[in-house]
C-alpha cells in the first residue's frame, strides 16, 4: 500500500516539467513573502486533488489560475500547521521553565524527559496537522474540520498509526535520498570536468563555481518543486487509504 502511494506520487509529480519550473520561479521570489503562500496554496491544491481522486488514476496537476484563492488556501495551510505545532512548542516551553527552576541532575533529567515527550508530541502533532489539512480539503475547505480532532483521530485509526508514521518516515528518507543523489550526480559530473580541465592546465575554479550554481538552480527549480508536489500528493493519497 505504502509503495503504491510512493509510486503514484513519483509519477504524478513528474507529469509536467513546466509546472515545476513555474513553482521554482515562485519559490525564487518567495523572499517577498506573498509567493511563499502561493507555494503552500499550490500544495494545498495538490492535496485537494489527491483526496478527491483515486490512486493510480489519471488526476491532472492543478493549474495556476485563480491566484487569489490559491493565496488564501496557502494562508489556511500555514495557519493550521502553526496552530498544531504550537502544542509541542508549549510543552517544550513548560519543561524548559520547570528545568530552569531546578538545578543539578534533576534539571537535566527533566530536560531529557521533556525532550522525549516533546518529540513524541511533535510527531503526533505533525501527523495530525497533515491529516487535518487533508480532512479540511476533503470537506471543501471548511476551516473547522482541520481541528475536528476526534474525526481526524478516527481517520488515522482507520489508516493505522503505524502505517501513517511509516509513510512519513519513508517520505523523509525518499526526499533526502533524491536531494542527495541529484546533487551528487551533478557534483560528480562537474568534478570530472574540473579535473580534466586541471589536467589540461586550465584553472578549474570557474568550472567548480559553475557546477555549484547549476546544482543550486536545479535543486531550486526542478527538484524542490518536484519533492514538494511529491510529499503533498503522498499525504493526500494516504488520507484516501481509510477503509
Amino acid at each position: 500500500m505504502i509503495l503504491d502511494i510512493y509510486k503514484d506520487s513519483l509519477e504524478y509529480s513528474a507529469k509536467d516539467w513546466k509546472t515545476l519550473v513555474i513553482l521554482g520561479v515562485i519559490c525564487f521570489f518567495s523572499f517577498l513573502l506573498l509567493p511563499a503562500f502561493l507555494i503552500t496554496g499550490y500544495n494545498y491544491r495538490v492535496i485537494n486533488t489527491a483526496v478527491h481522486g483515486v490512486i493510480n488514476g489519471r488526476d491532472p496537476l492543478p493549474d495556476f489560475e485563480d491566484l487569489i484563492s490559491m493565496f488564501v488556501d496557502g494562508v489556511k495551510f500555514v495557519i493550521v500547521q502553526i496552530l498544531y505545532l504550537l502544542v509541542p512548542a508549549i510543552i517544550f516551553l513548560i519543561f524548559a521553565l520547570v528545568a530552569g527552576q531546578t538545578n543539578g541532575v534533576a534539571a537535566s533529567a527533566i530536560m531529557i524527559i521533556g525532550c522525549i515527550i516533546t518529540f513524541v508530541a511533535f510527531v503526533v502533532a505533525e501527523l495530525m496537522a497533515q491529516m487535518g489539512i487533508c480532512h479540511m480539503a476533503y470537506n471543501d475547505g471548511a476551516f473547522s474540520k482541520a481541528f475536528a480532532i476526534s474525526e481526524i483521530k478516527e481517520v488515522i485509526d482507520e489508516i493505522g498509526w503505524f502505517e501513517c508514521i511509516a509513510t512519513f518516515l519513508g517520505l523523509i528518507i525518499i526526499t533526502l535520498v533524491i536531494l542527495f543523489v541529484v546533487s551528487a550526480i551533478i557534483g560528480i559530473i562537474f568534478t570530472a570536468f574540473g579535473l580534466s580541465t586541471a589536467i589540461l592546465g586550465i584553472n578549474p575554479s570557474s568550472i567548480f563555481i559553475l557546477g555549484a550554481l547549476i546544482n543550486i538552480l536545479i535543486t531550486m527549480f526542478l527538484v524542490g518543486p518536484y519533492l514538494s508536489i511529491f510529499n503533498s500528493r503522498s499525504i493526500g493519497l494516504l488520507y484516501t487509504m481509510q477503509i
Binding site: 513573502l33 488564501v72 488556501d73 475547505g141 471548511a142 476551516f143 473547522s144
Partner: protein, 278 residues
C-alpha cells in the same frame, strides 16, 4: 456557503471589479498619507526648535510655557489635522457604502456621486467607532491615574487592551447592523447584535475576523517588504533624494495598497453579516 474562507476570497477579488473607483479611494488615502508625512517632518523640525529653545533658556521641558513654543506652525498643523480628519471621514463613509453594497450583494464598487451623503455616513461610522472605544479609553485613563503604582498599572493596561479587542469584535457586527438597517440606534441594539453573532456561531465569527486580519497583515507586510526594497534600491542609485523617494513610494503604497485593503476589509465585514442573517 461552505466555508469561512470563501468570504475572504470573494472580498480579495472584489476591489478588482472597478479599478477606477478604487483609485478614487486611493487618492483620499494619499491625502492622509501626505499629511502624516508632512506632520512627521514638521515634528522633527519643531522638536529641534524646542531643544534649541531649551538650551537657550535653561528651562526643562515641563516648565516650558506655551508662548515659548514656535508658534508659526501651530495653525498650519491644526488646519492639516482638520483636513486629515475630514478626509478620513470621507473614507469611512466610503467603507460604509462598501459594507452596504456587500450586504445587498451588489458586485460593483460604490461611486462618489453623493458627497454629502458620504460625509454623513462617515460621521455615523466614526461616532459608532468612537462610542465603542470609550470603555477601553476610560480604563486606560484609570491606568494613567494610578501610574505611580507600577504593578496595578500594568494590570489595568492589560485589561484595557483586552477591552479594545472585545469591543472591536462587537464593533464590526454593530457597524454591520447599523448599516443594514440604516439607523444609528441599531448599532447599540446589543440583543440583536448578540443574536446575529450567535446565529453565525461565535467561534466561526471570531475565526473569520481573525483570519481576515491575518490575511490583511500578510498583504501589508509583504507589500511593505517589497516597497522598502524598492526604496532602498532607488535611494542607493539616486543621490541625495532619499526623502523624496520614500515619499513617492509611500504615496504609491497609499494609492493602491491602503485603499485596496480597506475596501477588502469592509467587504468581508459585510459578507459576515450577510452570512449571519441568512
Amino acid at each position: 456557503m461552505a466555508s469561512i474562507t470563501d468570504c475572504v476570497v470573494e472580498g480579495l477579488k472584489y476591489p478588482f471589479n472597478d479599478i477606477k473607483k478604487l483609485l478614487g479611494v486611493g487618492i483620499l488615502c494619499v491625502i492622509i498619507d501626505l499629511i502624516s508625512i508632512v506632520f512627521t517632518i514638521k515634528t522633527v523640525d519643531v522638536t529641534k526648535m524646542i531643544i534649541g529653545t531649551l538650551e537657550k533658556t535653561n528651562a526643562t521641558g515641563f516648565n516650558l510655557n506655551f508662548s515659548q513654543l514656535p508658534n508659526g506652525d501651530i495653525y498650519l498643523a491644526i488646519a492639516m489635522l482638520v483636513v486629515g480628519f475630514i478626509v478620513s471621514l470621507f473614507i469611512m463613509g466610503y467603507q460604509y457604502d462598501v459594507v452596504n453594497f456587500s450586504i445587498n450583494r451588489k458586485d460593483d464598487l460604490p461611486g462618489f456621486g453623493d458627497i454629502v451623503g458620504m460625509f454623513i455616513k462617515g460621521v455615523k461610522y466614526f461616532l459608532v467607532c468612537l462610542v465603542y472605544s470609550i470603555p477601553s479609553m476610560i480604563v486606560a485613563f484609570l491606568a494613567i491615574l494610578v501610574s505611580n503604582n507600577s504593578s496595578l498599572w500594568s494590570v489595568i493596561m492589560v485589561i484595557s487592551v483586552l477591552l479594545i479587542i472585545i469591543c472591536y469584535f462587537i464593533l464590526i457586527m454593530a457597524l454591520n447592523n447599523m448599516i443594514a438597517h440604516d439607523s444609528l440606534k441599531k448599532a447599540f441594539d446589543f440583543s440583536e447584535i448578540r443574536g446575529n453573532i450567535s446565529n453565525l456561531g461565535w467561534v466561526k465569527y471570531i475565526g473569520t475576523i481573525l483570519f481576515t486580519v491575518i490575511v490583511f497583515m500578510i498583504i501589508n507586510i509583504a507589500i511593505g517588504i517589497v516597497m522598502s526594497f524598492l526604496t532602498v534600491i532607488f535611494a542607493a542609485t539616486i543621490n541625495n533624494q532619499a526623502i523624496v523617494i520614500s515619499i513617492v513610494i509611500s504615496v504609491i503604497e497609499a494609492l493602491f495598497v491602503t485603499s485596496y485593503c480597506s475596501v477588502f476589509f469592509s467587504r468581508v465585514c459585510g459578507s459576515i453579516y450577510r452570512e449571519a442573517v441568512k
